[in-house]
């Protein structure tokens, strides 16, 4: 078997496709990339489908050795990409040859983000579990052994020669859409669609929620981001357990909001004020502890328009041949 061999796995590197859908009825969460925009562009730079399996590199430190001739691309957080020790530009594809060493470093400056996506032409050819390759460590499902990449893992992929190398211009990166940002500021605005138990949050609490600044606590992972800031308790402590959608903002008895991410549990019993608008979750996922957040309210019809617009813009994204 050939492909990429893990020399050093880094802090947290996970194989992800677009996510595992239609399995929540048996308790399986969706998984998938935390920054789906960066993930999708990485795949497109490698001529892949939007559901191809790539690597989500959190924080950094991944080193791979190739036994194939192929094309790779790194998008997302500015962690730095090196091929055989030579610096390479992110957000564009690069040819690799058998024997090449690929290294993803660590953020060296502020506002670099913390999730990067490494795609390879053809994706990684691993078995699907429950219809998806997405790794959910908490469930032990997906990826190679249901968990993060380990030293000496072989990530199977085949040769892809003579593929056009593509790039996404910096102008496109920044002009693309204000909600998709390849520069990752440490203060982000997250748009929220009010819903769920919103009526159990008093007008005063809602005013506090939308006018205060919240900070990402140390408890932030692929399951959820626990925030710190002014308390916004609901007037009820718990509810009958119910389904939790991606981005749902639940508020336990301590009044501190938790934004639920891709590996969230599928049902739960804390009151929820609404949900963060999907595309904004990428901005949150690029923050680490200490990152700052402001919330603003968004109408569901506006949200729908924006989703359609975002999809069209993504499809019109011009990838230029190098």
């Amino acid at each position: 078997m050939q492909g990429l061999t893990v020399i050093a796995p880094g802090i947290l590197s996970l194989l992800q496709d677009a996510g595992r859908f239609g399995q929540q009825q048996i308790g399986l969460t969706t998984g998938g990339p935390l920054d789906s925009f960066a993930f999708t562009v990485a795949n497109r730079l490698c001529h892949n489908s939007d559901n191809a399996c790539a690597i989500e590199v959190s924080i950094g430190g991944l080193t791979l050795e190739s036994s194939i001739d192929s094309v790779i691309a790194l998008t997302g957080a500015k962690l730095g990409l090196k091929i055989n020790g030579q610096n390479k530009v992110q957000w564009q594809s690069h040819a690799i040859k058998a024997g090449d060493k690929i290294n993803i470093g660590f953020a060296s400056e502020k506002n670099s983000g913390c999730r990067a996506y490494l795609a390879v032409a053809g994706g990684f050819d691993i078995a699907k579990q429950f219809g998806s390759q997405a790794t959910v460590s908490r469930e032990g499902i997906g990826g190679l052994q249901g968990g993060p990449l380990q030293k000496a893992d072989l990530l199977p992929s085949s040769n892809h020669r003579d593929l056009e190398l593509l790039s996404l211009s910096e102008e496109q990166q920044s002009n693309f859409n204000s909600s998709f940002n390849s520069n990752y500021p440490d203060l982000v605005e997250l748009r929220v669609i009010l819903g769920y138990q919103q009526n159990h949050f008093s007008p005063v609490k809602q005013a506090i929620f939308f006018s205060s600044e919240y900070t990402v606590s140390d408890l932030c992972d692929r399951m959820g981001y626990r925030l710190e800031g002014p308390k916004v308790n609901a007037d009820i402590e718990g509810i009958l357990s119910e389904g939790i959608c991606l981005g749902a903002i639940q508020v336990p008895a301590d009044g501190q909001p938790i934004v639920l991410m891709n590996d969230r549990q599928t049902i739960g019993g804390y009151p929820k004020i609404g949900a963060v608008f999907g595309p904004d979750l990428a901005k949150l996922a690029q923050l680490s502890a200490g990152g700052r957040i402001k919330f603003s309210a968004m109408d569901i019809n506006d949200a729908h328009q924006e989703l359609l617009l975002a999809k069209r813009q993504l499809d019109q994204l011009v990838l230029e041949a190098l």
Binding site: F21, Q25, G195, E242, L246, A248, Q265, I267, V276
Partner: protein
Amino acid sequence: MTATLYPHIEIAGADALIVYLGADTQPEISAEVQRLAQGLQSFQGQEIVDLVPSYASLLINFNPLLCDHLWLRKKIRETLDSSTSQQESESRLVELPSYYSEESGPDLNLLANNAGLSPEEVIALHSEAEYRVYAIGFAPGFAYLGQVDQKIAAPRLATPRKKVPKGAVAIADRQTAVYPAVSPGGWNLIGLCPTPMFDANNEPHMLVAVGDRIRFRPIGREEFFDLGGELPEFEVQS
């Protein structure tokens, strides 16, 4: 605040609605959740991405590129209004063997003591009732079954165990469950079920589905081992 009338459709997120069909744990409400989920099943994989049934609600994730919340509201209303079929009669009865004992359920005696019952009475009350799968969640294959007799309802442990063994038959408040895999947990352990609840590698992955009826069949030590059961080491509770 005005009283909520059911069914009540609420926004969950930009691409999700939640339908409330009641406010408490009742077989009739759960059956209605099930009927709605089944009615919408035909859209799954297209307009509908995921259906998450729970005690009295159904969360519906939709694909905003193929439909919108107004379309979905219409489909929900149509499904609820259609008076077709009593799905309830099709609900399956699944029997789960359970080896109740102090060596397989370290909280059995304490739970019995607190309830003013003998362990045998706790076992009888737990195994004579028929339960309903109200929800699946917390972990893959973790089925919330309700409701246990009020006499054997017991609050969660003050300090959850770091490791509850696979197959543990447990009680929390008026709910009961079988742990599908080793996991942390704060429920009271009263027995072990040798039948796997969840298998990631084989079909069917799950023994039960939301809406199924469940009954526990008490088995002895010998039958427990015959059925492939294994006695794990339990974490001692201080």
